[in-house]
């Protein structure tokens, strides 16, 4: 039998977690529910975050948009602010699972679950997100590029909760792109997922950011590719180069969903396509 604790505010939640860092936080439960159905692992005790109102919601500020950890993908996918400022995130939100999953699944859960295939994670990487973690000791701001430290390992401490994600509002003229290659149209885990942000000034890529999922043990920001592409003129040549550099930068694996060869192939083609579409 699993014990469930249901704090009604953040302070209570953090102190419960502070007392027992073994508690498993639970938001939409869409990942926890399916934790190895074969081995049928039983969770010792869960900390239900769904009643902690401070953790939920989208707030638009001057410099950044903040999204609370337990905000669902349905909320993100239908937010006018997200659509306007972060269309790549809106698109990701709308292809996670299916409608039923989006109604429950949360951004914080997607982040903490830290699957290399998590669809929102490459988007957060290219948006230069900052993750705000909270514990009884206060808040800690973690650049998102430093959050995923290894296969399913993150910079979050057991005594911390993800509180929110802060997304700096992009420079005008930035274009975002997102593409998921899944096993089917819905309820599909990504074989490859790519997020991109670019800004063209006088025919050249003044900004170019690229991240991908399902091609490495963690979602990855492909900084070397970005460095080689930034400053180049937009067009077929640059796009093809970006694709082949991206392919060379990762070492995907064979698994039950796809093959290493296909992942590399699809990554190259998608990066090329999205780069072409940045104009």
């Amino acid at each position: 039998m699993t014990r469930a604790l249901t704090p009604s505010n953040l302070r209570e939640a953090l102190s419960l977690l502070g007392e027992d860092p073994g508690l498993v936080p639970m938001a939409g439960c869409t990942d926890l529910m399916v934790t190895d159905p074969v081995e049928r692992v039983e969770l010792p005790a869960v900390l239900d975050l769904t009643r902690v109102r401070e953790l939920r919601g989208i707030r638009r500020g001057k410099e950044a948009l903040e999204i609370g950890a337990t905000t669902t993908f349905s909320e993100i996918g239908s937010s006018a602010d997200v659509e306007e400022l972060f269309p790549a995130l809106a698109r990701a939100a709308r292809v996670i699972g299916g409608w039923q999953i989006q109604n429950r699944a949360t951004l914080g859960g997607n982040i903490a679950n830290a699957s290399p295939a998590g669809d929102s994670l490459p988007v957060l990487l290219v948006l230069d997100a900052t993750l705000v973690a909270a514990s009884t000791n206060g808040e800690r701001r973690i650049p998102y590029t430093e959050f995923h430290v290894g296969y399913r390992r993150t910079a979050l401490e057991p005594s911390e909760l993800i509180d929110r994600v802060s997304l700096p509002i992009p420079v005008p003229g930035s274009v975002q792109a997102f593409r998921k290659v899944g096993t089917r149209e819905a309820q599909a885990i990504s074989k490859v997922v790519v997020a991109m942000l670019g800004r063209v000034e006088e025919g050249k890529l003044a900004d170019y950011r690229l991240a991908a999922g399902s091609v490495a043990p963690t979602p990855v920001r492909l900084a070397e590719v970005e460095d080689s592409i930034r400053g180049r003129s937009v067009g077929e040549e640059t796009a093809s180069l970006a694709g082949s550099l991206a392919r060379a930068a990762v070492k995907p694996i064979d698994d039950v969903r796809s093959t290493a060869t296909y992942r590399a192939f699809a990554l190259e083609r998608v990066v090329r396509r999205l780069t072409l579409q940045l104009i």
Partner: protein
């Protein structure tokens, strides 16, 4: 009630050295049973009894049952599994057809019509192709489940999800060595079957029954999805080689087909699946010289069994793709090659059966082509492919033509002479007794409809008995597209006979001169008097006692198949179809989206057009997804994708629009002209989908599922249509 669970082999092939039950490690009161505890023969009786109830000395596939446990709850039963320690010595294993021993087959069928060697030598062009299909999971909504108990009088009852109560009954009688009247198998409402509830329920029923016998308590075993995927039967993988000889006019001269099925580890129903595969291997084409060599081989994988279509989809996938290959070689379009060769009335099948006027292959093809403007659009898309600019979506159209023998193969129906019983009840209702199961296909709707029509009754005048072997006669299994066509017909006859007897008696008692009519539940005389059916029938029972009418199916005398030579008449009639599949392929990732299927099926008579179209929609979707996405992945004989998150079936978002067109060429042997329809739509979707991918991408696809992973590999390897066209030209010119 106790709950049962199954200890399964983790190894594809091994000797069992010891099985140790350690009750101290199990929840209190748990119980364990192994092959040593069986009261009778250790075999599930189907066609053969080589399928062990529990592995004895040796396991032959991953997931094979080795021991059973029972405990007070599902969770306790699961925990008790850990208290069974099994030691194995691994043995060499055969994991797929490429490793299987052709000299030790599970079944072999050979048939030859004409002289293939000579005709190949005389052909203008010879085209060779090899085609592969993979496993398919049934993914019925309801997993396998069974409950067994002993009645106070000692009779054994097994109740659960099954298509064939009398198969289960037979297996229980055999293994528990009980007199048939001491065993009852009862089907619950069945949440989907697709063939998966044909063979396997016998095994799980035996498991539940053996635990019930050993513990003296009712025992329930219900698999979760994971166990269902790992443990139960699947569609047979196949490797099928075609060598086809064609003359200059594009007429088939010779077909040489070498067909291999992966039977898995035990016989189960494989010989009959192989037989149906062989009988459909030539497709819907006229060819004077045909040789079909079909073998089912053993591998160390779960036993493969019945799955909608029963070998025909595998065989027709290969022949349809081969026809596309022939078309490429001859420079003809896919419609033209088919129209030049399609079977018509008076043509012979490879069995020598001369086709009658219910042969509709051409009708279906022409209709499907007209509805989709196939020829023009296919050619335009060929052109579009050659001209396409980077990044434009790749669109394609594919065609297939197919048929499906209705009812049991060969002499099966003659051996069974399936009975239906009807009986008048005191309240005047007619109670109908058949062993047929509604597993979603709609026999619970169609049977009353047939009975009402045959007898002039209303549904209120009828009662259908639950399919319980203690009450219903053995009217055979709910398989082979036979329920409506075969049993529906016998039902119509039995009802008509009952109504006739009762109305004749009524006329006598009323001293009426002329015949009475029975319509819509009312008995009417020409003088205008009218009675309800039920009052008339109730008086019959009151005056004369109950009335029972039993009727048996008599297949047409001319349905005789020589089981040695495979010459004769394998099926009394065939359903016919043609599919046009339209796909869009992503130019970057080669992801395939089936957008529309136009399915034209000739079904004899659509008794219930909505349900009939529903069968065709469902079967078509199952066929297209078998062709494009469904894949059982294995490593060292273990399933890698044993859950619905990884065994990919289509969501509604993946499902194409399916436009069904029903054509009717009545078959006089079926009720009101109906032919079987359940499996027909499974035969055409996969080859048409791959043909559409070919039209869109130029990739020559000869293996299913044609996943993006495979498509990219083929593209990189240069398996494209240009290479096929070139290959055939070379061959023909070198022979000149």
């Amino acid at each position: 009630m106790l709950f049962g669970a199954t200890v399964r082999s983790p190894i594809p092939h091994a000797r069992i050295d010891t099985i140790r039950w350690q009750p101290e490690k199990a929840p209190a009161g748990a119980f364990c049973l192994t092959a040593l505890d069986l009261p009778g023969p250790n075999g599930v009786l189907l066609l053969n009894d080589d399928w062990p109830i529990l592995a004895d000395n040796e396991v032959r596939h991953v997931g094979e049952p080795v021991a059973l446990v029972a405990a007070a709850s599902r969770l306790d039963a699961r925990r008790a599994l850990a208290a069974v320690e099994v030691e194995y010595t691994p043995l060499d294993s055969v994991l797929d057809l490429s490793e299987a021993d052709p000299e030790n087959p599970l079944a072999v069928i050979q048939l030859e019509h004409g002289d293939v060697e000579r005709a190949l030598g005389a052909s203008d062009v010879v085209v060779e192709g090899e085609y592969r299909t993979g496993h398919q999971e049934h993914i019925y909504i309801e997993c396998q489940a069974m409950t067994a108990w002993y009645e106070p009088d000692g009779a054994l009852v097994v109740k659960g999800s099954m298509q064939c109560p009398y198969y289960v009954h037979k297996a229980l009688v055999h293994a528990l060595e009980l007199p048939p009247e001491r065993v009852r198998a009862e089907a619950t409402v069945v949440g989907g079957g697709f063939g998966g509830k044909e063979d396997y329920p016998s095994l799980i029923a035996l498991h539940a029954a053996l635990l019930a016998k050993a513990t003296g308590r009712p025992v329930r075993i219900a698999y979760d999805r994971h166990e269902d995927i790992v443990g139960t039967t699947k569609r047979h993988p196949s490797v099928i080689r075609h060598v086809t000889g064609i003359d200059e006019q594009g007429q088939l001269m010779a077909m040489d087909v070498d067909l291999l099925l992966d039977g898995g580890s035990y016989t189960t129903l494989t010989p009959v699946v192989l037989s149906r595969a062989a009988l459909h291997a030539g497709g819907v084409y006229r060819c004077p010289n045909v040789r079909i060599r079909a073998r089912a081989l053993r591998t160390n994988t779960a036993t493969n069994g019945a799955f909608r279509g029963f070998g025909a989809p595998e065989a027709e996938f290969a022949v349809e793709r081969q026809m596309d290959r022939v078309a490429r070689a001859m420079g003809l379009d896919p419609l033209e090659i088919r129209l030049r060769n399609v079977l018509e009335e008076g043509d012979e099948l490879p069995t020598g059966q001369v086709l009658d006027d219910t042969t509709s292959a051409r009708l279906c093809l022409e209709k499907a082509a007209a509805l989709t403007d196939f020829r023009r659009r296919w050619s335009e898309l060929e052109e579009e492919r050659r001209q396409r600019a980077d990044g434009e979506p790749m669109r394609g159209l594919g065609l297939s033509a197919f048929f499906h023998g209705a009812g049991f193969t060969g002499n099966g129906e003659r051996r069974m002479r399936s009975p239906v019983k009807v009986a008048l009840r005191e309240d005047g209702r007619i109670e109908v007794f058949t062993a047929m199961i509604d597993m979603g296909q709609g026999s619970a709707v169609v049977f009353p409809q047939i009975a009402c029509e045959a007898g002039g009754l209303t549904e209120d005048d009828l009662v259908f008995a639950e399919p319980d072997t203690a009450r219903v006669p053995d009217s055979g299994p709910t398989v082979a597209s036979r329920t409506t066509m075969v049993i529906g017909r016998v039902l119509a006859e039995a009802i008509a006979e009952t109504v006739e007897l009762v109305q004749a008696w009524w006329r006598g008692t009323k001293d009426l001169e002329e015949d009475l009519t029975v319509a819509e539940g009312a008995v009417q005389s020409p003088d205008g008097s009218s009675w309800t059916w039920r009052e008339v029938a109730a008086s019959y029972v009151k005056e004369k006692g109950s009335l029972e009418v039993s009727r048996r199916y008599e297949p047409p005398a001319w349905q005789q198949l020589d089981e040695e030579t495979y010459q004769g008449v394998a099926y009394p009639t065939y359903g016919w179809g043609a599919d046009v599949v339209e796909v869009e392929v992503d130019p970057d990732t080669l992801e395939v989206k089936a957008q529309k299927v136009t399915a034209v099926c000739e079904v004899g008579k659509a008794i219930h057009p909505t349900l009939c179209a529903g069968q065709i929609e469902g079967g078509t979707l199952q066929a297209v997804s078998w062709g494009l996405m469904e894949e059982v992945k294995m490593e060292e004989g273990r399933y890698l994708n044993d859950r619905l998150a990884t065994y990919i079936i289509p969501t509604i978002g993946d499902s194409p629009e399916i436009e069904v067109h029903l054509l009717e060429q009545p078959y006089e042997g079926g009720p009101f002209g109906a032919k079987g329809v359940g499996e027909l739509p499974m035969d055409g979707g996969a080859p048409a989908a791959l043909a559409a991918v070919e039209n869109a991408t130029g990739i020559w696809a000869d293996e299913i599922p044609a996943t993006p992973e495979r498509l990219t590999a083929w593209q990189e390897a240069g398996d494209v249509v240009e290479s096929i066209a070139g290959e055939a030209t070379k061959r023909s010119s070198s022979e000149d």
